[in-house]
Structures are given as C-alpha cells and as structure tokens.
C-alpha cells in the first residue's frame, strides 16, 4: 500500500486516502484483499466482458442505419442521407438555407473531414479550429454512432475540440454509414484498441443523443437549453 501520496496533504485532513480505505475495509470486515482476489479483479478490468446487450441493435448494417435514424429523429435530431462524399457540401448548404443560417461556419480541423469537396461550394465560409461564443454553426465528424438509441460518439483530440459540440446553436455532424453500429459496447471496444491497461481514453468522450433540452419549467420540453438548439446529422451512404 502506498501511504503518503502528495494529494492527501492537499485536503487538510491528514491521510484521507488511508482513512477512507481503512473505514471501507473495516465495514467490509476484512483487510486489503488477498493477492489472488486482486489478480482476479484486475483480470476482470483488463479484459472487460460485455453484459446483457438489448437485441434491438442487432441486425444488418441497413437495419442499424434505419434504427439509428428513427431513434435520432425521435429525439428531435434531423437526419439526411446522401449517396457519397461529393454530396456532403451540398447537404450542408441546403441545411443552412432551409434554416436561414449564415454560411460562416467553424469546422473541426479533423483530417477525416478533408475528404469532402468543400471547394465545390465556395460560398461556405469555413474556419477550422475550436468554437468561440460568436460561432453559430459547427461542423464535425463523429467516431461512431449507436443505433440502439440514436446516439453519436465524439471524442476529443488536437483536431477534434469538444467546444464545437456545445457552443454553437447549430451542430452539423457528418457521419459515415459504416460508422453506425448497434450498441455502446462497440464504442468501448474500438477505444480500447488505442491503448492497454485502461490507458486509451481521450480527454473527453461525448455521447450525444439529440440536441440540448430541458424540462425544468413545468416539465415542458424546450430545445436548446445551453447546448445546440439543432443537431443535424448527414449520413454518407457510399
């Protein structure tokens, strides 16, 4: 056991860590777990098993795209499907026009988004970077999406700043049909491929299901509480 870690000195109560762990062990009626049990629990953590996963997310890729769309629309996201990369800039332009939005946008510096021929729409005025207060429209990709509940998974890194997902009133997500899968567990499996022994998590993982909302006044649903008022998902079928 490591007794004197620096963080304990910061909390002013002496050795908080040992006091809390000691109290837990005394309530559990034992000392620190024996090595064999610790090894067993460590193994449970290093090769995590999925628990029960609802059957609704099973099915063919086409079923999953259909379920994802249905679930996302049920929580007031708008979803369009386009045949291939070349149609993405058009879909963005159309969405901006339909919602009377300016053509100034902030887009993640994510290289994945470079595959779309933005230059075909020179009127789209795009800045690449993180979002600031005045941005009205953001464009990002997504890591994955889960059909089960119409949920997007977005992770942060140097090219995918999280502010894009929350500050602007309009969030446009370009998703590829093959990124849609059944259940959240597939997302964890994918993240785990990036590192061993639990060291694979980006700073922020956002699971996003529809635009921001609140029911805090008389339980009446209102979109756009603090995050985006609109979430628009463009699925590239290809």
């Amino acid at each position: 056991m490591s007794g004197n870690t620096t963080e304990n000195e910061a909390n002013g109560s002496g050795n908080g860590r040992e006091r809390v762990l000691g109290a837990l062990r005394s309530s559990l009626g034992r000392e620190e777990l024996p090595a064999a049990v610790r090894a067993e629990l460590t193994a449970r953590l290093s090769s995590p098993k999925s628990n029960l996963i609802p059957a609704r997310g099973d099915g063919s890729p086409a079923d999953q795209v259909a379920l994802f769309t249905e679930m996302a629309e049920a929580v007031q996201a708008s979803v369009v499907r386009v045949p291939d990369d070349a149609d993405v800039p058009n879909a963005v332009t159309l969405y901006l026009a339909q919602n009377n939005l300016p053509s100034d946008m902030v887009m993640a510096p994510d290289a994945e988004l470079n595959r779309y021929p933005w230059a075909t729409r020179p009127m789209l005025n795009m800045r690449r970077g993180h979002a600031v207060d005045t941005d009205q429209v953001s464009v990002t990709g997504a890591d994955m999406a889960f059909a089960e509940t119409g949920t997007l998974m977005l992770t942060s890194d140097a090219t995918r700043p999280s502010t894009l997902n929350f500050l602007p009133e309009n969030h446009i997500v370009v998703l590829r049909a093959e990124q849609i899968t059944g259940a959240y567990e597939e997302g964890w499996r994918r993240l785990r491929a990036n590192g061993e022994d639990g060291a694979f998590m980006p700073r922020t993982v956002n699971l996003i299901t529809g635009p921001s909302r609140t029911g805090d006044i008389e339980q009446r649903l209102q979109l756009g509480a603090h995050g985006p008022r609109r979430l628009h998902i463009i699925i590239v079928e290809q």
Binding site: G12, R17, L21, L41, T204, T209, T214, D216, A225, H226
Partner: protein, 472 residues
C-alpha cells in the same frame, strides 16, 4: 446543508395547502411516471438489465476499496489529482484550496447533489468566490434563494408564473426587460444570462454519475449541455463524487446507463453522456488544464457496514420520488434536506442522524411503488421499516403515538379483550353513521376524516363472520 427534517410534519402540512405547489405537483404526478412506463415497455430486456445492474453494483460495493484505488491510480496516470475526503468540511476546504491555487473568482457548477450535501455554495460565497449554478432548475432555485426539491428536477415545485416573476425581478438589473410569459422565452433568457458566465468562469465543478475504475474516467449524464460547458471552458475542472459511484468497467457503466434515463425521465438515453479522463492533452484546442476529483466519504463507508448497505446502490434517478404518493402530495421541501422522497427517507437519517430525521421513514404508506420502480431494486420500504424500529427503540415518537402503539400491542395479545372492544367500537361507529351510512367526522381521527368519509360498518367483525362460517 442545514437540515430542517425535524420540522417535517409542519412543513408537510404547509405544502398541502400551498396552491402553487399543488398546481406544480399536479403536473408532476403524471409526467415522469407515464414516460417511464412507456420507455420500459419499449425495451423487453429492461427487467433483466435491472438484475444485471444490481449484480454489478453489489460486486462493486463488496470490493469498493479495490475499485477506488484502481480508479484513483488511473486518474493520476492521466494527469489528474484525487483528493480523498472524509467529511464535508474536508471536501469544501479542498475545493477552496484548488480555487485559490488558481486564483479563481467565479465558479460555474453543473448539478451535483454532493455540492448540496456539503453546502458548497454558501461556503464559497463566504470566501469571496462566486458560485453560479448552470442547470436551469438549479439556476432557478439559486436565484430564489432556495434549494432543490427533487434530485433530477430541482425546480419542479415552481410554476411557470413563479419562474416568470423571479426572472423578471432578478434579471431586470441585467437588461432582462419585461416580464416573460412563455416557457421558451424563459429558457432563452436563462441561456443568454448564463452564456458569458460559462465563458468567464475560472473553475468548473460537476458531479459524477459514475467513476470508472478501468480507465480513471468520471461520467456525467445531462440534458442541457451545461455540464459540458462547465467542464470544457474553464481552466480547472473539479469533480465532486461520493465513494459509491464507482463501477468496474465501461461495459458495466453501459448496463446501468440503460436503466438510468429510462427510470428517471423516461428517456431512452440522456442527451449528453460525457466521459472525462484527466486534463486536456498536449495539443488539445480546448478542455481544462487541471482535473481534480474529490472523493467524499461522508458516511458512506459506515453505511457499507450497516443494515443500510443496499441504499448505496442508488444511482439517483429519482424514480422512487416520481412514483411516491407522499412526495407527490407534499413536495420535496417538506423532507427538509438534500434527498427527498423514499430514498431520502432512508438516506437522510444515515447522513444527518435519526434524531433529526426520524419523521421521514414514517412518510410512507408502504404502498411499495418505490421498490417496484427502483432500477437498482433497493428495498426502500424494508429499509424505512428498519428506521421505524430504531426510532421506536430510541423512544423518538410522540408519547401519544407510543401510548397508542402500546395499547394496540396489548389488545392484539389479548383476544377476549380485542373481540370485546372491537364489538363495542363497531356498534358505536354504526350508531354514528346510522343516518347516512357513512361517517364524516371521527372524534380521535379528525385529520383522517378531514379529506374523506369513513363508511359505517355493516355486519360484525371479521372474527365474528369467520366463526359463523366455520359453524355453518
């Protein structure tokens, strides 16, 4: 937070005659519960997921020391700092030390019941740091100088008109303008008022729904997005969590997430589930520079070794209060502390003492709906009964109540006297209700007959009927 739970009976009576509260509760009683039952009906695996969630949490509690150590070491590996705090004072002081180290003037907060439990806001204010609640419901109760009346819907006790008055009053110096009438206008105004507070804040404080041991990740579940703006904009992110929030893996968290939102608001999934691991990484364009987790015990380790261990499975969904006829009649403030409703009736005596909170476990008809809907299958009525037993042993009830109980106990142990007195009582009641077939006012139970009539007895007692039937 200072408890007023000892004053439960007077506060409950006040709630019953508060027209605005009754108006708000009228909407509340059908809102969440209908949505929950619809969400449950859409997911055939729901009951099996509950069983699995219970199993995960039981396993975690049995090995809580191990999982918390692992969680802490993973947080540290990702560049964060874990502070183990025994008492609310430790936790408050730790938050203040962090704020001071970063020279903080303002702190944005997303909803955290632990923040309420340790009374963080008044403490920060008294140390010249301004806390700003950003969840709409929390913002409303902060403006009103109140505290949450529900763990997931803090302002559920307020009507729209009350919020409109409050916003008009409190926003007029900040360019709020005229009194707003509509819900969407009120939400927009709160959004506008809080916008620059998010951007200017030095420190952001969130709670945690989960502490994932596998990865050293904290997770919050929200709908508004305020929890995200709270943690990605300021320089420092502080997470407040109690020990029992630990889960082993991301997969285990997923299982519990599948029952959480459905039980709480009847949503398939909350809008934002956000996983945070350490501070921003080299090259990241946004995110906090420092990441601190306050791991607070405040009685949890003691509860782990007590007959109330099972309440540590609670994931704070609020389903028990959403379905409680008592909560639905009196509202959350009557309970007098952070956690109202059935789970509060079990938790509060654990956290503020039985003497202070002994009324709460009696605020139940034992109808059992709370246990039926609890995603973590916490036997709430059973646990309340244990508190009632302890209350009796400690002699905390009113003398009149104890006398009544003693009389009853004596009667049921003396069959002849029981039969005799019940025969007399039946005859007396029949006389009382002879004219109309019902009794509008009972001499020793005025409270009970105030809202309803009692039917006059017909025929004899059950005992008498049974005897006749056996003879026949």
């Amino acid at each position: 937070m200072q408890s007023t739970s000892h004053d439960f009976i007077a506060r409950a009576q006040k709630g019953l005659v508060d027209e605005d509260l009754q108006d708000a509760l009228g909407r509340f009683r059908t809102g969440f519960s209908v949505k929950r039952s619809e969400a449950v009906a859409r997911l055939p695996e729901f009951e099996a997921l509950r069983d699995k969630a219970v199993e995960i949490k039981n396993h975690t509690l049995e090995h809580l020391d191990f999982y918390l150590e692992r969680f802490a070491s993973k947080v540290e590996e990702s560049g964060g700092v874990v502070h183990w705090c025994v008492t609310p004072e430790d936790a408050r002081q730790t938050v203040l030390d962090i704020c001071r180290a970063h020279d903080a003037k303002t702190v944005t907060k997303s909803k955290s019941m632990i923040g309420e439990e340790i009374a963080l806001n008044p403490f920060l204010e008294s140390n010249d740091i301004e806390p700003i609640e950003t969840d709409l419901g929390e913002y409303i109760v902060q403006l009103a100088g109140e505290y949450p009346s529900h763990i997931i819907a803090p302002a559920v006790h307020k009507t729209k008109d009350q919020v409109a008055d409050l916003f008009y009053e409190r926003h007029k110096d900040q360019g709020g303008g005229k009194r707003l009438e509509e819900v969407d206008e009120l939400v927009d105004q709160a959004r506008a008022m809080l916008r620059h507070r998010f951007i200017d804040a030095d420190v952001g404080i969130t709670g945690a729904n989960f502490l994932v041991a596998e990865t050293g990740t904290t997770a919050i579940v929200t709908n508004e997005g305020n929890g995200d703006l709270t943690q990605i904009l300021p320089r420092v992110h502080i997470v407040l969590a109690t020990l029992e929030k630990a889960v082993p893996t991301l997969d285990d968290m997923s299982t519990i997430l599948r029952v959480l939102a459905r039980s709480a608001t009847g949503q398939e999934f909350s809008t934002y589930t956000t996983l945070s691991t350490g501070p921003k990484r080299p090259g990241d364009l946004d995110g906090p520079e420092a990441f601190h987790v306050i791991l607070l015990d405040n009685g949890r380790s003691r509860m782990l070794g007590s007959e109330f261990r099972e309440v540590l499975r609670c994931i704070k969904c609020g389903a028990c209060m959403n379905h409680c006829p008592v909560y639905g009649s009196i509202g959350g403030h009557a309970y007098g502390w952070v956690y109202p409703g059935p789970v509060g009736a079990v938790l509060t005596p654990n956290l503020v003492g039985l003497e202070e909170a002994h009324h709460l476990p009696n605020a139940s008809t034992f109808c059992g709906r709370c246990e039926d809907v609890c995603p973590m299958r916490i036997p709430l009525p059973g646990l309340m009964r244990r508190w009632r037993e302890q209350e009796f042993d400690a002699g905390l009830q009113a003398p009149r109540y104890r006398l009544g109980l003693a009389l009853w106990a004596w009667l049921v142990r003396h069959p002849t006297s029981y039969r005799l007195s019940s025969a007399v009582l039946i005859r007396a009641l029949r006389l009382l209700g002879a004219r109309r077939g019902r009794i509008a006012r009972l001499p020793f139970a005025r409270g009970w007959t105030m809202g309803r009539d009692m039917p006059a007895p017909e025929g004899g007692s059950f005992h008498a009927k049974w005897r006749r039937r056996s003879r026949a």
